[in-house]
Amino acid sequence: MTKQTKEYIAFWIFRILSFIVLAILIWILYFIFVRGWHMLSWDFLTKMPEDGMTKGGIYPAIIGTLYLVAGSMLFAFPIGVLAGIYIHEYTNDSKFKRFMKLMTNNLAGIPSIVFGLFGMSLFVKTLNFGDSILAGSLTLGLLALPVVIRVTEEALIAVDDSFRHGSLALGASKLITIRKVVLPIAMPNILTGLILSIGRVSGETAPILFTVAAYFLPKLPTSIFDQVMALPYHLYVISTSGTKVQESRDMAYGTALVLVLFVLILNLLANALRRYLGNKVKMN
């Protein structure tokens, strides 16, 4: 076999295997869209579940997930961004920096179910928040923290040092340099990362199993100490352990579609933002 033939064969194998990845995604999306599409209606999105969750809507689960996303991000956004700034801009000692990064990586590598155990042990039991939005949001927030930190760090790394030196040379303090020069440049990347991490948080199930998620709760929460339903847990319940799994199949397709649409929209939004803000910064 000549080396040209080998190359030809090898590249075709790569091409085919890559398109398997594409095919898998299309398969998943097609299946969820086709079977879930007819479920999507205003009623489905705004009504309480009825008849053992075989009819009605998923309103409380949507609201619950929105609360959890908002709560966790309220915690993880500011702290994560600050931590990212600290690790990248303030730690000069390389050993310390390595340690910080190692810890961030370790936290990122911890399985979500372990976060669930931890959240239950600390927030639900020890701090006595009970199964509540507060406990669930904090658990999800901790889970999202390393993601936000990494996103921030990467955005800061992408900012060329000449910007920093330029500002410092003009007599600006480090803090002002970061606030006025570095952050504005890094912001588009930070924001895109943050949007993607919202997607991640909204789909997590394991951490909320024992910290907030309610099996069936057809009312909206009134305080942060209430339990809520959540989309991913709801999908799990009605597709596996509900009382009438077969009858709630359609509801499950609809819920899966809503979850996927949510992630899809966030992805598109992140990409659009990346492009829009990216151009804007370049123009300046």
Binding site: F14, A83, L107, G109, I110, S121, L235, A256, V263
Partner: protein, 401 residues
């Protein structure tokens, strides 16, 4: 004055940054503390649930039993005291349910007020008896002898093959089937995902033109973004029936279903990390190869792949880590039978799935609850080892540059 205030603000903000930066380390520390506090508590408790005690005749030489032995006695696998280091005599098992075989209702009393005494007497009178009852029926002058039950211990926990965390009278906490189930599902997931993942990353980094890459990149991002319950749901509705029909099995919920779903979920990690590694190959090195008459494929497999091997290895390990920790999707498709796995076409149960499925039912502070936290510890240690491994492998890549 104004300047002082400004300096103060700067210091304040720097302090705030420091605290935020340390929060990840603190969280890791807290996770370790909370997890291990509950988890290690398991090894100071007895496997006997509900304060049950085992009482035997005073002359019986058997001093202590293990949880495994108790289960075998109840399963009638051990029927002779000889097997437990006692005399050659059959074991006569006695629980509260057998009470009516020995005593009439009047003898016990309306409110069981004579029960402790009666129990005491039968322990005294029947030499080959093994009685199990709760400690509230113990009398002060016990004529029998309480057999000690060995505490839960780490070797039995890790090497035990039986997982019956709610068994009566003694729980069986052997997690070997769960550990093996987790590893089986994860390793096969990676074996399925690696060829496709690496091929895709090579294709994207070295072969595809800009236009194709612009299509593939967001697709992989989206694949990474789909929640794990959705993968689980997809697996449940599509892959499980497919396996059921293809292999003509009684149930489609098998290790294979778990591996396939996990393989799909691990793809984005593997592709992104190894694509980065491949892209890191210096352009000049590739040019040198091409300038020597090598074609692109020769350059890829003789120069690019060896150069990025540590990054690709890191990708594979990270993928395994993700797979080991994945909970919901696996819970939904693997059938969750806590048995020693023998084949891929059999239901298995993984560690995360066990925790997710059982923690809700385990009473807080009980043996079962602690055992689930101990499982969490094992999971934590596994992922920690994997992280360290990844750090080690990728530090080798840095050295090479």
């Amino acid at each position: 004055m104004k300047r002082k205030f400004k300096q103060f603000t700067e210091k304040l903000i720097e302090g705030l940054l420091l605290i935020s930066g340390s929060l990840t380390s603190i969280t890791v520390l807290l996770i370790v503390i909370f997890l291990f506090k509950e988890g290690l508590g398991l090894f100071t408790t007895s496997p006997m649930e509900n304060k049950n005690v085992i009482v035997v005749n005073k002359l019986n030489p058997v001093e202590h039993l293990t949880a495994g032995q108790i289960k075998k006695i109840f399963d009638q696998e051990i029927t002779n005291w000889k097997d437990l280091g006692g005399k050659n005599d059959t074991i006569l098992l006695f629980t509260i349910n057998d009470l009516s075989n020995y005593f009439s209702e009047e003898e016990i009393g309306e409110n069981f007020e004579y029960l402790p005494e009666k129990l005491n007497s039968i322990v005294d009178s029947i030499p080959n008896l093994l009685a199990v009852y709760t400690d509230k029926y113990l009398v002060k002058e016990l004529k029998g002898k309480i057999v000690k039950v060995d505490k839960n211990n780490i070797p039995d926990f890790i090497l035990g093959r039986e997982w019956f965390p709610t068994a009566e009278p003694a729980v069986q906490l052997g997690v070997l089937p769960l550990i093996l189930g987790t590893l089986l599902v994860s390793i096969f997931a990676i074996l399925f995902a690696l060829p496709i993942g690496i091929a895709t990353s090579i294709y994207m980094a070295e072969v595809a033109n800009e236009r194709v890459r612009k299509i593939l990149k967001p697709i992989i991002e989206l694949l990474a973004g789909i929640p794990s319950v959705v993968y689980g749901f997809f697996g449940l509705i599509v892959i499980v029936p497919l396996i059921h029909d293809t292999f003509n099995l009684p149930v489609g919920e098998t290790a294979l279903a778990g591996s396939i779903v996990l393989a799909i979920m691990a793809l984005p990690t593997i592709i992104t990390v190894s694509e980065d590694a491949i892209r890191n190959t210096p352009r000049s090195m590739k040019e040198a190869s091409l300038a020597l008459g090598a074609n692109r494929w020769q350059t890829i497999h003789r120069v690019v792949l060896p150069y990025s091997m540590s990054g690709i290895t890191a990708a594979a390990i990270l993928g395994i880590g993700r797979a080991i920790g994945e909970t919901m999707a696996v819970l939904m498709v693997t059938g969750n039978a806590a048995v020693m796995p023998h084949s891929l076409l059999q239901p298995v149960r993984t560690i995360p799935a066990t925790i997710a499925a059982e923690l809700g039912e385990a009473p807080q502070g009980g043996v079962h609850y602690q055992a689930l936290f101990a499982l969490g510890c094992i999971l934590f240690i596994l992922t920690l080892l994997i992280n360290i491994w990844v750090e080690y492998v990728s530090s080798k890549q840095k050295f090479k540059k």
